[in-house]
């Protein structure tokens, strides 16, 4: 077995040093009843070539996003990632190290985390950011739990524009904690609807911009209303590239900003691993979940970085911890930081402008298709359209033309009664030819 260095001679010698006759002697504590593992229907070991062949065959039965015109978004976006990113994240020192618990020999990871936190704080317009969460949806649920700790109130209001999966994850987790979650009726341009639900019991209001229908909203008024009621405003963003064009959550008054960072450096990966971004106002830092990296000095006074404020965390505080998270999305944070460093402010603004411009072109072209109605009034790189018939059927039909048309809203929320709503996204990877192919296929199928 190519991954196992011990030889039979090594094993025999080592058993001798231990004073055991056979390997079974080392498993004496296992009850007899549990010793006969029956694994008959699984194969024996295989060579690298055979494994590669088996996995390649499975991969070949999937259609990658890059295989042709592709318009799916809904919380995961197809972006170009510079080759440098994947090269660096595969360096042994980053890939095969553990959480930086020994800072003297983990300054690489720690400095990157400090840079990551600073980038995320800048993008969200808030003062502090943590070292990552699992993904945007769990970050959203954690933000709601944090608001409960900060305000000591139990009610959370989720906007009807929040990604349905994010709402579901938040409901699952916050409900178990005994929180009272109100999810508002799903609607295209829904963020302002939360205003009517804010009261003196409200711990937080959760809005999304751009929302799941791509609609961009200035949430400043919602922030004011929330703050007047003593509640926190949580702003969710699932398309991190939008930070490059739009006013930041912090600028609009958010107390906590959470996001999915997948668009920057991470790739699609069929849904994971992704990276949850989590930023907040500095005065709430001791209620934040997850790891934080901070600056300090070493015994000779040189600047260095360590994990800090860990009295919030499970390994120190156990049942009093702010969250149970341990392993996070470290390597994705590295990928994010490298990609964001390559972009820089200039590149990010250009990338965002390019995304917005491609989406507007897509809108112009689709608006001209008979029977198609554009539903999202203001958007960044994704918007909702109404199609004749069921969106899911349109998507299936267009596959035959080689076009992946988008995400039917009914797939995210079958009970919303929006079967004819299709979410379509365009990014810098979308070409004019892709857009033309989409429009042509749609015309052909809906005529």
């Amino acid at each position: 077995m190519r991954y196992l260095p011990l030889t039979p001679a090594d094993r025999a010698e080592m058993l001798g040093v231990i004073g055991a006759a056979t390997i079974d002697d080392l498993f004496v504590d296992v009850p007899d009843a549990a010793r006969k593992a029956d694994l008959f229907d699984l194969p024996l070991h295989a060579g690298e070539m055979e494994v590669e062949r088996a996995l390649s065959a499975l991969a070949a039965r999937n259609r990658p996003a890059g295989a042709g015109p592709f318009f799916c978004g809904a919380g995961a976006y197809k972006h170009h990632v510079p080759a440098t990113v994947d090269h660096i994240i595969q360096r042994s020192e980053f890939l095969t190290s553990y959480t930086p618990y020994q800072p003297e020999i983990a300054q690489g990871t720690l400095q990157v985390l400090f840079e990551f936190q600073t980038q995320v704080a800048a993008l969200t317009g808030l003062e502090v950011a943590n070292a990552s969460m699992y993904d945007g949806s769990t970050a959203c649920a954690e933000a709601v739990m944090m608001a409960q700790r900060v305000t000591r109130r139990k009610k959370a209001v989720l906007s009807g524009g929040l990604h349905p999966h994010y709402a579901a994850v938040t409901q699952t987790i916050a409900h178990a904690e005994g929180m009272d979650i109100t999810r508002q009726a799903v609607a295209i341009d829904a963020e302002a609807d939360v205003l009517s639900a804010i009261d003196a019991e409200t711990a937080c209001v959760v809005v999304q911009t751009p929302n799941v229908f791509g609609v961009v909203t200035d949430v400043s008024k919602i922030a004011q209303a929330a703050h007047a009621a003593g509640a926190l405003l949580i702003v969710v963003t699932t398309e991190a590239v939008s930070y490059g064009l739009l006013k930041s959550p912090g600028e609009m008054g958010a107390d906590i900003a959470v996001g999915e960072g997948q668009s920057i450096g991470v790739g699609l990966n069929y849904g994971g691993p992704y990276i949850g971004l989590f930023a907040a106002r500095e005065k709430f830092v001791r209620q934040m979940p997850g790891r934080l990296c901070g600056e300090t000095v070493d015994a000779e006074g040189a600047r260095g970085f360590v994990l800090t404020l860990s009295t919030r965390e499970q390994h120190i505080r156990r049942e009093k911890a702010t969250s149970n998270i341990c392993t996070n999305s470290g390597l994705c944070a590295l990928a994010f930081t490298i990609h964001m460093t390559l972009l820089g402010e200039r590149g990010l603004r250009e990338l965002a402008a390019l995304n917005h411009s491609r989406a507007r072109e897509l809108r112009e072209v689709l608006a001209a298709v008979p029977g198609v109605e554009i539903l999202s009034p203001r958007f960044f790189n994704e918007f909702a359209i109404r199609v004749p018939g069921k969106a899911a059927d349109v998507v299936e039909a267009l596959l035959a033309d080689g076009v992946v048309a988008g995400v039917p809203f009914s797939r995210l929320d079958p009970k919303a009664g929006m079967d004819d709503v299709l979410l379509v996204a365009a990014t810098e990877t979308t070409t004019r030819d892709d857009i033309a192919a989409f429009a042509k296929a749609l015309k052909g199928r809906t005529a």
């Binding site: 080392l26 593992a37 991969a59 980053f94 950011a129 849904g271 507007r360």
Partner: protein, 527 residues
């Protein structure tokens, strides 16, 4: 160009005292001092080229940001150099044995990296039509089959994103099962004192009270204490097996029986599955739910802190409450069930936006196929053999916490052998860095004083184990011989000297800010 040998010395001359030597610039040879990206004057730089849109105005009016974001950029060569220089300040498994107990730092096969990057996996959108993702769904189904077979459990939830998230999944299923039986009043979860912090944290996260169970002198769950604490209020117990002392819970079947008799469920923390994979099936032990850290047992890389993946196997009793989504076979192909189809379905709901850590599934599946059942069994055996070898080799100089009987995949020592030396577990660990090794897990589990938990894993050769034991033996002898400064000042030879964690926490600086001009930053509001 090669340097000629003629006319120059080819042997080092005077050795000098290298430790006292300093360079003129403050540099340390090839180990570069590296500034933060924010200190490189890259405010107008970029490492990407875009074809700009014809019109750059948007129709978004005052939704558009005007103020600068504050992000520096770097050209590609500068970025490459920055991150490569940083990488060189990290220790890694690819450099040496990385004996972090409980973390299972094993070799990460590069085939797995290559497979996860196949376009059919890496460039696959989670909401792409299912007819275009059949290979991915089949892989998830195959992985599920392996996990169920290896654990002897009937069901598995793939979506949890890490071990702690798996614990959350298990406890949410348990909570739902109790509620369905009219047992929602059960509010307590029993957790041994030796448990990993995520266990009590997860129990509290879902609203349970935590009660600790005591441990026997031989490092196992105290059955009498467990029995005394099991009551109609108890929803579940969370027991790690093999436990965090590196020992197999001998009475595990009895623990399960008592738990079930009290109407509670048995959550097993499976972080240490590496010790028994292919040899013991948790399903035969009476477990109701167990997470499997794919980033431990199944070799997906830790990446400096994540990502991981924490699928949870479930018993018959808990399977109906599993979270969405899940994969089912449907005719010729596979289907991803994303919403409970019928209103009455018992699922406790969704715990992540999409379907879990697919990138880790690919890697773990490649790892499983590479090993096969024979290889996996060998994994467990070699992991246990290596740990016992270390225990045997180090017992003459250090004190094993549980000297009697074999350990499983990790060897636990306490600090009684350091008594009177003036050296603490922390000092000893830092001195290991100077000898080229990553320290072991320290001060965990909490039940052992000054704990040092050493997990070598099966991917270490006997030569590397010997090198490690030799280094630790020399260190132990030095500590006992009174060479205290070697420890209290350590590390001396790492990229940094010992870091001041107290200062970091007292005045947290969590982001880079431009140098304060006259006044220092406002102190943190005390909370």
């Amino acid at each position: 160009m090669a340097m000629s040998n003629i006319g120059r010395p080819t042997q080092p001359q005077a050795a000098g005292t290298s430790s006292a030597h300093t360079s003129l610039t403050g540099a340390r040879g090839l180990l570069q001092d590296e500034a933060l990206i924010f200190e490189m004057d890259g405010w107008d730089k970029t490492g990407v080229d875009f074809e700009l849109p014809d019109e750059d105005a948007s129709d978004l009016g005052d939704l558009v940001r005007t103020a600068p974001i504050g992000l520096p950029g770097l050209s590609e060569p500068e970025a490459m150099r920055h991150f490569v220089r940083l990488s060189q300040k990290n220790h890694a498994i690819d450099l040496a044995l990385y004996p972090l107990g409980s973390c299972t730092m094993k070799h990460n096969p590069r085939l797995n990296e290559k497979m996860a990057r196949l376009a059919g996996f890496g460039d696959l959108h989670p909401m792409a039509p299912q007819s275009t993702t059949q290979g991915a769904l089949e892989l998830m189904d195959r992985l599920a089959h392996w996990l169920k077979t290896l654990t002897g459990m009937p069901a598995v939830a793939l979506s949890p994103k890490a071990g702690a998230h798996g614990e959350l999944c298990g406890l949410l299923a348990i909570k739902a099962a109790h509620e369905a039986k009219g047992q929602g009043h059960r509010r307590t979860v029993l957790v041994p004192t030796s448990a990993h912090g995520t266990n009590p944290a997860t129990a509290a996260f879902v609203g349970y009270d935590v009660t600790e169970i005591a441990q026997t002198a031989d490092g196992r769950v105290d059955l009498a204490d467990l029995e005394a604490k099991l009551s109609p209020e108890v929803a579940a117990i969370m027991v790690t097996n093999p436990n965090t002392c590196g020992l197999f819970e001998r009475d595990i079947i009895e623990i399960a029986r008592l738990t079930h008799a009290a109407g509670a469920y048995f959550y097993c923390d499976g972080a240490n599955f590496n010790a028994i994979v292919g040899r013991v099936r948790p399903g035969d032990l009476g477990v109701d739910a167990m997470h499997i850290n794919l980033h431990k047992t199944f070799s997906t890389p830790h990446g400096g802190g994540g990502p991981g993946a924490g699928p949870v196997v479930l018993s018959e009793a808990l399977a109906p409450y599993a979270p969405t989504p899940w994969v089912v076979s449907a005719g010729e192909g596979f289907k991803l069930v994303e919403e409970a189809e019928d209103e009455a379905a018992d699922t406790f709901g969704r715990m992540v936006a999409f379907h879990g850590q697919m990138g880790m599934f690919v890697r773990a599946y490649a790892y499983m196929l590479s090993h096969g059942t024979d290889g996996l069994r060998q994994v467990a055996e070699d992991a246990v053999l290596n740990a016992n070898y270390i225990k045997a080799k180090l017992s003459p100089v250090m004190t094993p916490a549980f000297p009697d009987g074999p350990c499983m995949h990790e060897a636990l020592f306490d600090d009684s052998w350091l008594e009177g030396t003036g050296v603490t577990t922390l000092d000893f660990a830092k001195a290991m860095i100077d000898e080229g090794f990553h320290p072991m897990t320290m001060y965990f589990p909490l039940v052992v004083h000054g704990a040092m938990l050493i997990e070598p894993t099966e991917t270490e050769s006997k030569q590397e184990l010997d090198r490690f034991c030799h280094a630790l033996t020399l260190l132990a002898q030095a500590a006992k011989a009174g060479d205290v400064e070697r420890f209290t000042g350590a590390p001396y030879l790492a990229p940094m000297r010992r870091l001041d964690e107290t200062q970091a926490a007292r005045k947290p600086r969590l982001t880079w800010r431009p140098e304060p001009t006259a006044v220092s930053p406002a102190p943190m509001a005390a909370e």
